[in-house]
Symmetry: C2
Subunit: 216 residues, 2 copies
Amino acid sequence: MRPPSVAGETADALPSAPRPRRYSTELVVAVAVEVFNRRGYDATSLEDLAAATQLSKSSIYHHTRGKEHLLRLALQRALEALFATLEEPESRSGEPVDQLRHVLGRATEVLLEETPYVALLLRVRGNTETERWGLERRREFDRRVTELAASAIERGQVRPDLSARMVTRLLFGMVNSISDWFRSTSPADGEEVVASVLAVFDGLLSPTASTRPRMR
Amino acid sequence: MRPPSVAGETADALPSAPRPRRYSTELVVAVAVEVFNRRGYDATSLEDLAAATQLSKSSIYHHTRGKEHLLRLALQRALEALFATLEEPESRSGEPVDQLRHVLGRATEVLLEETPYVALLLRVRGNTETERWGLERRREFDRRVTELAASAIERGQVRPDLSARMVTRLLFGMVNSISDWFRSTSPADGEEVVASVLAVFDGLLSPTASTRPRMR
């Protein structure tokens, strides 16, 4: 369907309108995420979302159940992508250290591919039911990764003087921080980021671990 | 001086008032920082700050020039502590890799000591002059650290396949992310964080670097 008219004009009548002619729910969510990240979720009103999408408020309600529902759809996208990395074969069999390395690299790729959605997830504070749900799912992801780190340390594959919780927090904190500065310009940049993250990980492997992956 | 009365009562008349009897500017800033971090700077009104400090708006103006000035005082505190780490003797002489290691460890300590102030600095978006000033100072700090990383790589002390920019962004991104989860309970926790951050750093040193610090 076509975005509703602004100030009584039809969309066709607007000269060189840069906006897309058709709005999918996905696109409304994408615009909302940009506004949430720029203004903060709490500070964003439905009026702000209407202005950014050039949709009427009623049209936004046609696509979604409102601001909190837009947040849920956005967080869902980030969380599904992150949890999917845990279900990949390389995350489910083999040595724990290799599983952990795989999840770390893939989570970095997810962040690079879905930057605004993951950035929003990372900023969620817990003031609404949806935010608390997002926080709880994030914690669940962290728990799963911490278990992998604990197994890798237990088997002597990661430096034993580090705790599983600390390894997970520092490594994934490092990955999460990428959303603060990464702007995709070329795929090569993304590859450098992933390779560098894995280089940091490899620096934490026990020198004696027989399963130590080759650097690069 | 004494906080102004609420609902016409004097402070003395309030039973078991949990609030401090005297407000220093420092304390007003501390409360404001807590509110900014919880609600977001943009979403915080002077009314919110008045409610949180239990001060009247005019009394807040007695301490500061208003909301943006409170932000500036808070950012100043974080930035002064961070920049001071660059002026310490260990950051100014010796091998670049050791200088870099020192700054990284000390910046971690600053973050642990001044968590809410640094967290606020890291969330600054650039909508106001003060925010843009904060962002510019952060970038200046990053530039100084990136120069150290470049020297360390040039001298073969840090893995040469990593770029100075990437090393700086990943390591300091990792440190910055600590503000998302660190809650000081005991000094020992903080020491574990610093030691773990330095362990990650040591993992990036060139195996051939003669200046490689011993791992604990």
